[in-house]
Amino acid sequence: MNLDLAPEDREFQQEVRDFFANSIPEEWKKTVRAGLRLSPENLVAYQRRLADRGWGAPTWPKEYGGTGWSPQQLHIFWSEASAADAPAQFHQGLELIGPIIFTYGSQVQKDFYLPRIISGEDWWCQGYSEPGAGSDLAALRTRAARDGDDYVVNGHKMWTSYAHVADRMFILARTSTEGRRQQGISLMLVDMDTPGIRISPIHTLDEKHHTNEVFLDDVRIPAANVVGEEGMGWNYGKVLLDRERMVAAATAMFLPQTLRAVREAATRRRTAQGSLIDKPEFKARLAQIEIEAMAVQAMVLRLLADAASGADSGPRGSMVKLRWSELTQQATALWVEALGPKAQHFAALDDESVLPDDMPFALKGALYARVTTIYGGSSEIQRNIIARRALGL
């Protein structure tokens, strides 16, 4: 057992640290620390800067334009990014559809789509969930009927995050109703400019526009845009199961950003007995979350060590996702608590200067965090997965 950095890893660490030094604009930091996404323009700008440095796709193999970094290097990269208050890269192209394309896509698809993901030219959204198909995704009803060289797609997608920004969407649609429910589902790449697509925003409790309903009415999708074989779309999702541990790991690495925000807010907050950060009860509660965050970081290290040695990490990706999402909820909630009555200042009615430090980011972050235990496989589904796959129950 040895977790020390090798000399070449130390050099790499310095290189990454230099890259991030003073590079994140001050106005990004509160959004980032709240676990909220930056505006699409800013995220694209960030993606371009990474791509210019050759670091656009940290988790991809070199042959597809990725960095080919080892898990140890990824850990260093994410640690430094987190420490610099850099945002997490938008994941739907990089971590969801990109790997499916480079694993199952045609040469034409690889050549066209992959560079555009890395450069930030294409923003992708995921058209999976439907009104009747959430955790039970195989219940999806969107139909794709073959018509010459095209498929004609009709259906209704829900919770399509950033569809209002995206250039492209990958969808699961039913190309057959024969056999098991999981059969007859195909994975297709859709240009958002295609006629027949209508996007309607879903207003959420944090009052930030993240997500949408997408209606597809007689949308014609070229057959060449099917990934892999028709009817095999369900199976392609499996490549993600293995990669999800990396997504979970990367996300969990950014937890300390929120905790720094809590610390700073509590240091600023005056109470009758002095600064809030010095009150024993508050100190104990912050320490508790910080300690649990350290445990999650340790789990991430172990996960990456598995990846490095090619070992199966079993359910550890699900475990990290479960624990990280609970902790991001607790950390953002403690931030709001640290603000005290100032957390009421959500939106200015007249002059913006009425808003105190950290608002409305902290409160939006706390509200947005509620979705983290629901998206990407709810906590209940994650527990089912662990019970079945790891414990054999």
């Binding site: 057992m1 977790l3 020390d4 508790q288 445990a295 999650v296 340790a298 990456l304 089912n384 129950l393």
Partner: protein, 370 residues
């Protein structure tokens, strides 16, 4: 970055697990616990023969020079089989406390390694777990010192031959300077040993000292650092013990829910039961990952103090929660003396108290990360 044990560490681990299943078979546990003196002496001699007792002693002192990771490999097995043999208290901790301590220490290290002597550490007092908060005083008297005061919670101290007693040679309670460390033999004049058993069948004591002669260990007035460094070794070893115990409790629970039938089906088919077992296994993973990172950091010689404090808190929380749920999911029988899960719960509760409980280490973590 390497989490797995190397071959040598794996051999130690396998040896400990084998020893545990031979000597501490769960079915014979109550019998083992009943044969206190004899059984304990026999097992201690076996541990010496296996080389475990030489393991944490430096090679220069005639030991095997094992570090925290090697110790972890052994102690995981101690936890898995709930051995009451005080490997951490009578070997890991005293060896770290007296290493390089001069005088008698070299000879005592050799005796520890050979299993010929048991030394327990008397480091804290009634006021709590902080090693600087002590009032026992030591006054120079020629070549020796005279100690007067009271020590509390001497881990596994009931059957020790020697005590390592911290006492103040200057300053007042709370100051790190002025803390010194002394060796006191069990039969010393003026020493009263008040022995007691804890619910996990470990045997501890309190000490009363009135003008007791003590032999100094290390530099006078500067023992706080030595004590804290040694306690870090003992604490990470106890973390590994807790992890071994937790994993065994989860394994026992998994076996049970797969076989126990109610309503005509194994109770493990119920989702509410499944999710509880999942939470237990997540707690194990948290505790194991944190223990490994803390142990590795200590082994590499870097500053591990806040990490160890964090791990002490979290492993105790996870360990107690896991053992409580293990009892819960076993139902009524889980509360019986006969079933091993009830012993895991009792040990987890007591491990939390050894060398500082959750609250103490949480406050310490907060101070260290200010």
């Amino acid at each position: 970055m390497q989490f797995a044990y190397n071959d040598e560490q794996q051999m130690l681990h396998d040896s400990a697990v084998r020893f545990g299943s031979d000597e501490w078979n769960a079915a014979d546990r109550l019998k083992r616990l009943a044969e206190v003196g004899e059984g304990a002496a026999r097992r201690w001699a076996q541990m010496a023969e296996l080389g475990w007792l030489m393991l944490p002693i430096a090679e220069d002192d005639g030991g095997l020079g094992g570090g925290p990771v090697e110790v972890m490999a052994i102690v995981e097995g101690v936890g898995r089989h709930l051995m009451t043999d005080a490997y951490v208290s009578h070997c890991v901790l005293p060896a770290a406390l007296i290493a390089g301590g001069g005088g008698h220490c070299a000879a005592l290290l050799e005796q520890i390694g050979a299993g010929e002597v048991r030394i327990a550490a008397a480091l804290v007092e009634e006021q709590g777990f902080d090693v600087a908060v002590i009032s026992t005083r030591a006054v120079a008297d020629g070549d020796t010192f005279r100690l007067t005061g009271a020590k509390a919670h001497v881990e596994d101290g009931a059957d020790a031959d020697w005590y390592l007693v911290s006492a103040r040679t200057s300053g007042v309670s709370g100051e790190r300077e002025g803390v010194s460390l002394f060796l006191v033999p069990r039969g010393a004049d003026g020493l009263t040993v008040q022995r007691f058993r804890s619910v996990d069948s470990h045997r501890h004591c309190n000490l009363d000292l009135i003008d007791v002669a003590g032999i100094p260990v290390g530099a006078i007035g500067e023992a706080a650092y030595r004590i804290e460094a040694a306690l870090d070794r003992a604490i990470v070893a106890h973390l590994a013990e807790a992890v071994g115990s937790m994993e065994a409790a989860v394994a026992a629970t998994l076996d049970y829910v797969r076989t126990r039938q109610q309503f005509g089906t194994p109770i493990g088919s119920f989702q509410v039961v499944q999710h509880k077992v999942v939470d237990m296994s997540i707690a194990c993973e948290e505790a194991r990952a944190l223990t490994m990172v803390a142990t590795s950091q200590l082994a590499s010689g870097g500053d591990a103090s806040s990490l160890i404090a964090a791990a002490k808190v979290r492993v105790a929380q996870c360990g107690i929660a896991v053992a409580q749920q293990a009892v819960q999911l076993h139902g009524g029988v889980g509360t019986s003396e006969e079933l091993i899960v009830s012993h895991h719960l009792r040990r987890q509760m007591m491990l939390d108290l050894a060398h500082g409980d959750r609250d103490h280490h949480k406050a310490r973590f907060a101070e260290l990360t200010r």
